[in-house]
Symmetry: C2
Subunit: 253 residues, 2 copies
């Protein structure tokens, strides 16, 4: 059974202000919730689930205990869900705390003002696929704990450390680091050598990389165009650049 | 002014059955509509626009004439729009007729059961970027004239020939063509030579390439994984594979 205050509380978590204040985010569906319950750095605060999901769980094997699960009906799930097709369980999880980033010996992704939640979730998933375990976002970038980003990341959100700060301050704090910026006038990415460390910088969906960040770029990289499309989707472009630049040193397949 | 029958007609075009029967599709927003008005192979059937859009147009420079434009109010646009944020103009365009595909001397993209409209639109845009001008879709693949696909393709829909047929029949009809299928157990795409012709086959978002298509694959290709994400988005994966395999022979940047 759900009470009104719980519905209101969950709905408030659609807003960054409340997520920040509560330190909590929303994840939905058996697959994603199951993955987060197994993640070492994420703890459940409260789960709202249909009886069918509860029956399928061996709650003791995860981090959840029976006290943190509230059984609800389908109509109640529809009231609290952020998805168009609610699926069995909605979980509230405590946001993992990530400390400042160490850049040495690894590739870091930097995102300048990515606005679309689907793009951001896809970017987190791309980073996770290629073994990039940290992302630094400009302060204007969409919140990674937005429910749509969480769903689009498909669990990668618990494996990739995503932090927010002014990218100018970030680059100022790491002088000498190689920064590969994706632009329309750089070196063809297919002709470049693989990198073992450095920062790959991706710009905003329509405006690209902000002018004030250009002085920090050591090498501009470009995906050569053979046809007529005006642009590539930001996540697709990032996937292509990363696949060409980042050596699969620790291949897991 | 809009009449009720027009509203009903436009809404019906959200369904493939009616789009097929009428041979018409919907495109919205000044940028996309403007691009389609300039496209040689697409003709407008009817435009519904706010006065501000009509004023900005030099209608004689495009294919539209004044008779095909109906001035409507913002509230009327909201009633007929398929977008969450309607933008000045909604156009009905006659679907271009594409004949059967010639595969010689060029790279063709084949899509097996792509379901998400956003993914399909992004795939059309990727093809257009890399100079691939034809896509063959399995009959189960989402309709390319679905309004969401049209919007996501950002105009590439008028430059890339997209046809639908059984992929088994398609491959049977082109014996000897090289088929590069994206799977999880193929050759690392970064180690492969560039191709000048052949078919790149992309599978369904969750199920991958259908088993019955495997006999047609000449070379399985894989994007090596270094991290832990379970999969890559289908459009991202296609973009990566195409960027590695297709030589930018006719670079336009």
């Amino acid at each position: 059974m759900l009470v009104k205050s719980q519905v209101k509380y969950i709905q408030s978590l659609g807003h960054k202000k409340f997520r920040d204040a509560e330190g909590v985010f929303v994840a939905e569906g058996p697959k994603l919730v199951g993955e987060l319950l197994q993640a070492p750095n994420v703890r459940p605060a409260q789960l709202f689930a249909l009886s069918e999901w509860i029956r399928q769980q061996d709650l003791k094997s995860g981090h959840a205990d029976t006290q943190s699960v509230i059984e609800i009906k389908q109509t109640e799930l529809e009231r609290i869900s952020f998805m168009t097709t609610p699926n069995q369980v909605l979980g509230l999880f405590k946001k993992p705390a990530f400390s400042s980033q160490d850049l040495s010996g690894k590739v870091t992704l930097a995102l300048d003002d990515i606005q679309d939640p689907g793009n951001l979730g896809t970017l987190v998933r791309i980073a996770d696929w290629f073994g990039i375990d940290q992302i630094v976002c400009s302060e204007e970038t969409t919140d990674v704990f937005n429910p749509k980003v969480v769903q689009a990341s498909m669990g990668s959100i618990c494996r990739v450390r995503v932090t927010y700060q002014s990218l100018e301050k970030f680059f100022d704090g790491h002088p000498g680091v190689s920064v590969y910026g994706t632009t329309l006038t750089g070196k063809a990415v297919s002709t470049m050598d693989k990198i073992k460390s450095g920062v790959i910088l991706i710009g905003n969906e329509s405006k690209g990389i902000a002018q004030e960040l250009y002085p920090y770029i050591s090498q501009q990289v470009t995906i050569p165009r053979a046809g007529h499309a005006e642009s590539l989707n930001a996540a697709v472009a990032a996937g292509i650049v990363i696949s060409h630049l980042v050596a699969p040193a620790r291949q897991t397949t």
